[in-house]
Amino acid sequence: MLVQDIRYALRSFRRAPGFTLVALFTLALGIGGTTAIFSIVDGVVLRPLPYNDSSRILQLVRAAPNGNRDSFSSADYRDLKKDATTLSAVAGYRSDIVDLTGRSEPVRITGMQTTAGFFDVFDAPPLLGRTYHEAIDKPGAAIAVISEAIWKQQFGGNPSVIGTQVRLNGTPTEIIGVVPDWVRHPQKSDAWMLAPGDVPTSPFGIDTGNNSRDVHYFSAVGRVARERQVADARQQLKAIGDRLAHDYKNNAGTAIDGRPLAASMVADVRTAMLVLLAAVGFVLLIACANVGGLLIARGAARRRELAVRTALGAGRGRLMQQLLTESVVLALAGGALGLLVASWTLQLLIAVAPENLPRLADVALDWRIALFAFGATIVVGMLFGLMPALQSSKPELNADLKDGGRTGTSRTGMRNVMVVAQVALALVLLIGAGLMLTSFARLRSVNPGFRTTELVTVELMLPLVRYDEAAQRRFYMGVLERLRTDPVTAQSAMLFPFPFGGGNAQAGLQIVGQPPKPPEQEVSAELYSVSPGYLRASGVRLIEGRDFNESDGPNSPPVALISEATRKEFGGKNPIGEKIDMGDPVTVIGIVSDTRRRSLDAPLQAAVYLPYTQFVLPYMGAVVRTDRGAGAVAGAVKTAVNQIDPDLPIGDLKTMEQIIDESTGEPRFRSFLIASFALLALVLAAVGVYGLISFTVTQRVPEIGVRLALGASPRQVFAQVIGQGLQLAVIGVVLGLITAAAAATLVSGLLFDTSATDPVIYASLAVLLLAMAVLACYVPARRAMRVDPMTALRSE
């Protein structure tokens, strides 16, 4: 019976190509879009990490008193490792820029310096060789594990790489294993090196053997022991955190927690991803409502057929089965096309997705996604098929057989509901898109406080093994001197950290002469290390005092510039000439305009600029003001670096526009997606309104004929048809406004400087949707105006 129903269904679709094409197109867009977004949400948020028993891996998180995430100090880490008996393995790690030499060209890769337990936590079988483990590898062994990508790129995929000696940041190191590409923690790591001690070495060159609690510089992960529960481990970690906060003054107000790694990795984007999934779900619902509307119209046109079937003995269940079979067949065909659409859409989405979207590499169309698409298809088939089937399977036999289903105004009720639902859902999406786009536009219009054009940045990180503090200073000064002799790079400066780059140095702001503040009131200042000329090159304004100059050398009195936002910390005094306690007292010589460092939406913080001769770090880079483009700068920087250290590759070279684009990549991505969905929803809703009104006009031709014959003017008929559509649209708009306002809290966390209930956005998009509804009614209304009463009445 089912086979027969399927055969009839296929045949009936072939015989109604217009309906079939519109329905398939709508479903393919709905199912395809949903599947593509689901595959991203699945890859990024839902899919378990690929490590063995990955739910037991915890990111160990240390929270500073202000709630910000902070790194671990060596002493706290050691205490935690000793006391965390619920964890079977704990590892500390920090990322490092690594120069891979000892082969032909020096290559700069992203490396991780980890303690020996790293691969006990990340339990993953290697592709080749072995990984290191706490039980067998003692700290200090010069061994490393490399990624599959680096193995292929740098070693041609040669299996004999195992046992090879290379120089990593100048240290001879043996490659003991290659791990598959899916092992990547944190993102983009190419090599994992065993730390020389039981904690990673400090990037600041500070001896970590002293068990310091002051310098926080590395991250930690742990694996919950097999016989213990994750909740127990988290409770124990909290208790350890409380004890450390209680026992050590430096830790006052801090806390420790263990967050499941998968959730921790995507914490920043989780809400955005779920909002996107909900948005595309709305599109799918609109598509369902649309096809449901089409099916109801079709059902109305098929009333004679259904009445005949009933007269021939078909029960209601039998008719329902046939109608539902038709909708599921339609949905399956739409789903198959949807998979195709999903595959294309996914390629497009991955291409436009921001690089820093976590776990993007895990996104793929696989059997899970196919299963989702299949499930979605069946549900969708049932969803859009059920209402029409329920309605159509109850024919009014006598009447239906007589008039062949020509009149049917009483049956437009359910279509009205569908259209109202479409309009409401479309408005919710439009408002979501309006809010996101407004927020994004406001974010992009934030003045970062520095020049955003004609500014090129080049990372010039130095391996600590070869560069002590004095060597670092010599290197950066030497490079800057050479750059300034080249006309292309004449306006250059050195800087750490680059804005929005993730680099960070902070210190508690203690003004000499003021009493120390309690921990919860302590102000933390962002530290910058800059060369003379930085302000001019980057467009940061000197408000008061003087800029650094060549006379502020390593041995001259320590000096600092402060930002405008820092001024208030001086208790009303003029900061110029005051001293800040940075270990040694540092004299404030100038005040500069505020700049943003972490992101455009992060609040302004106190900032202290120190001269690079007095506060040098091996992670500095050059900032070049030029109108000659990044390419010209690359050559000049390479030449300058090469003259000082031929073994040193230069790091990433980016324009400031690129940096800002990347920093706003995630909100741009989600705004782009929601705007696309909203546009699609708008079109689908317009098609829905058009379909209903067009159908109603066709049904009402005789009635319109009578009205015209009785003296109604075409204009009145036109107004009546537009009014009918508009009435539904208004109901939909009201429901949409209520729903959007109710859902506002869901998106408010994703918005910058934009209220989730902004009345201007709500009102303007409601008007847009109503205008669309009028437009969609226009063509059928014109058709109604042109009804010839004679013809209409004759057909009656």
């Binding site: 009445a307 003995g313 078909a314 036999l397």
Partner: protein
Amino acid sequence: MIRLQNIEKSYRHGLSQTFVLRRVNAEIKQGDFVSIMGPSGAGKSTLLHILGMHDSAWTGEFWLHDDPIHQLSAKDRMRLQKQHVGFVFQSYHLLDNLTVYENIDLPLSYRDVKKAEREGMVADILDRFNIVGKKDLFPNQLSGGQQQLVAIARAVVAKPSLILADEPTGNLHSDQGKEIMELFRRLNEAGTTIVQVTHSKENASYGKRVINLKDGWIVDEN
């Protein structure tokens, strides 16, 4: 076979009530060939649909064989309808998407007849009605007479004891109409009870009895 007692059907319009059928009493015996006649709006088709159990909103008593239809549930009525009744419509009402074969097969499929058995029954009907050569055609490839022939074939394929026909020749020209009426006569002679609604005295002459309706009342019965 059929006994109707005080059958009434009406529609409510606010406070007023419009009767379509009033106190209809009638008896139709097994093997009868009854024509229901009367002017438009007399209630002919309504009565036919009540007999066909398509309509359940009426009062009175309706006995089919010994089954009290007026007391049965919708499900039981459907069962009896499938068992006993075949329907022929003025506008044929063949399903456009189905071939001749599939149209005839349809009632059997709704009666859960096994596929092999259905094939035999449809083949037999196609042969009896001399339309084997048209079995793969769609309704729009047939003339009106041929379509009605197929519709009657479809009505009788499940071997009903009662055929209800609503103006079966209304859309046909006279030669085709005669052919169809001859077919009904042959079916009746073979034992099938036939009730038809018609405006045509000539068609009524093929039957054995006429029931005349006017404004919902039986005004004459012979």
